[in-house]
């Protein structure tokens, strides 16, 4: 009986993606993370007199779906090599197996999209305050870009980073160390650029605030400070495209691990992607609105 999948056909890759997607969706860590994200969002959305700081909510799926997806994807990626080490019989090449797990990253993306629908439903049911930084008080494209980029795309990016980690870092606990490094880098690189200062300075057009955008998950929303909040300068739409370019780079970098796949075409694609990512980052930093947006007072206590 033939136990391998066809190596060259597109159908074979589709079948492999479907298998890996099922394994991804059934992984307990992913399931628990997704449930936590949806439940916490529901609690946040139903607590208090009114919903506030909705553009800060994407931190929930990014943490509870994106980071567990990193661990799951790294684990799945490494597991595809077990058969190769033991028997030398595996479906397809290493690059195809990498692409299969990368395709399974659509599962956390879907979970992130479910979170987005939940958020929009909460906003529609409970209604946003007239001064809330949301649709109507901001450019709709920017709001969509922030919600998609910091939520579902962060979930996708976490999984693809996990594929990269699974291919390149073989030591035990690598995913855990990468999580700490990622969180520390992300927070410390933006240290002092956001928070109370940005509201007090009326979302200043300081270049250092916009230069924080190189990180894979940038803070945009300041959170409420004395009933007011701010969205920092920079262009969320270009930032969303920059994040998508980083996702593609992570997958390309993972495929690059397979020496037999290092063709001139892949090298050219990766070089092009790096250039595109750099251009998109430059556009996010310099092409968007220099100063951010500061809301009016939102909380009921402050209105009085």
């Amino acid at each position: 009986m033939d136990t391998t999948l066809p190596a060259a056909s597109r159908a074979g890759l589709g079948a492999m993606i479907a298998i890996e997607a099922r394994r991804f969706a059934r992984h307990p860590l992913f399931v628990l993370g997704a449930l936590a994200a949806w439940i916490i969002t529901a609690v946040v959305g139903t607590s208090g007199d009114q919903v506030t700081d909705m553009l800060a909510w994407p931190i929930i799926p990014a943490f509870f779906i994106g980071l567990p997806s990193l661990v799951v994807a790294a684990s799945l990626t490494r597991s595809t090599e077990v058969a190769a080490e033991a028997m030398g019989t595996v479906p397809g090449t290493e690059a195809r197996r990498t692409l299969a797990v990368g395709g399974a990253a659509l599962v956390p993306l879907a979970a992130g999209l479910v979170w987005l629908v939940e958020t929009l439903v909460i906003a529609a049911v409970r209604g946003a305050h007239p001064n809330e930084l949301w649709f109507g008080t901001m450019d709709d494209l920017h709001v969509w870009s922030l919600l998609l980029g910091l939520g579902p795309v962060a979930c996708l990016g976490g999984a693809l980073l996990g594929v990269l980690v699974g291919r390149w870092l073989r030591f035990r606990g690598a995913a855990a160390v990468v999580i700490v490094a990622l969180v520390a880098l992300d927070i410390l690189a933006q240290f002092g650029t956001m928070g109370e200062d940005i509201v007090a300075n009326h979302a200043s057009d300081d270049l250092s605030v916009r230069l924080r955008l190189w990180v894979p998950w940038a803070l945009w929303h300041s959170g409420s400070v004395d009933g007011r909040s701010a969205v920092a300068g920079g262009d969320p739409f270009w930032y969303l495209l920059y994040l998508l370019a980083l996702c593609a780079l992570a997958l390309g970098g993972a495929v690059w691990h397979d020496r037999s796949a290092r063709s001139a075409r892949l090298r050219f694609s990766l070089s092009g992607l790096i250039a595109v990512a750099a251009c998109l980052l430059a556009l996010a930093v310099f092409a968007g609105p220099e100063a951010g947006t500061v809301s009016g007072r939102v909380t009921a206590t402050s209105q009085g």
Partner: protein, 210 residues
């Protein structure tokens, strides 16, 4: 013999790597005390992740039926003293200007290491090969989860820099006790482990004519 075994069996490279990461986060906290809100949990959790790695055994099912299985697990658990000492050392010596509650910090360091070690011990007793990666990731994700939730909801801090409230102290004491109990399960109930490792009995074959 035990030292030779530990030298060969424990994954020292990732374990020391986690401890070096904790050291780096501690240095960062000393350099920028304003970052202590992130640095302090990372120190505790990285040391706990290191403790979670000590029971990694690639051939768990094979090792479980060898005569060394009993003392091997105990020897591996004793290795967790290293991350425990490092965790306590780094947490208790936080900069004085942060006004840390040193007793509370010692409790956090002990509890996080014990709970990670307990989870790894239980997984190893169930003959799961290399549970360390999952334990490390689980401990770190659980430990960091109050950070994003705290940004949106009024939830109590797990790693406060100032005085530890009584409720939080109780929480960490219970966590440490649960971790310790999990570490002791294979010692107190070895029969459970033995049952899993014993080969399935084959039905006795009847001889013809009887």
């Amino acid at each position: 013999m035990r030292l030779w075994y530990l030298h060969r069996a424990v994954p020292w490279t990732p374990l020391v790597g986690c401890l070096l990461g904790a050291l780096a986060m501690s240095a960062l906290t000393h350099r920028w005390p304003a970052a202590a809100g992130l640095g302090m949990p990372c120190v505790a959790l990285l040391c706990a992740a290191a403790a979670g790695l000590v029971h990694d055994e690639p051939a768990a099912a094979v090792a479980a039926v060898t005569p060394r299985a009993g003392w091997a697990a105990g020897s591996r658990s004793s290795t967790a003293l290293l991350p425990l000492v490092v965790s306590l050392g780094l947490l208790v010596t936080l900069p004085a200007r942060l006004h840390p509650d040193r007793g509370g910090m010692a409790l956090v360091g002990t509890a996080t290491v014990l709970i990670a070690l307990g989870a790894a011990t239980l997984a190893a007793a169930e003959q799961r090969p290399r549970p360390g990666g999952a334990v490390a990731a689980g401990v770190i994700l659980l430990g960091l989860s109050p950070l994003p939730v705290g940004a949106l909801l009024d939830v109590p801090e797990l790693f406060p820099l100032g005085t530890f409230p009584d409720g939080l102290r109780t929480f960490w004491i219970v966590t440490a006790a649960v971790g310790l109990a999990a570490c002791l399960v294979p010692v107190l109930r070895p029969s459970r482990v033995r049952r899993r490792t014993a080969p399935a009995r084959r039905p006795a074959r009847r001889r013809p004519g009887r």
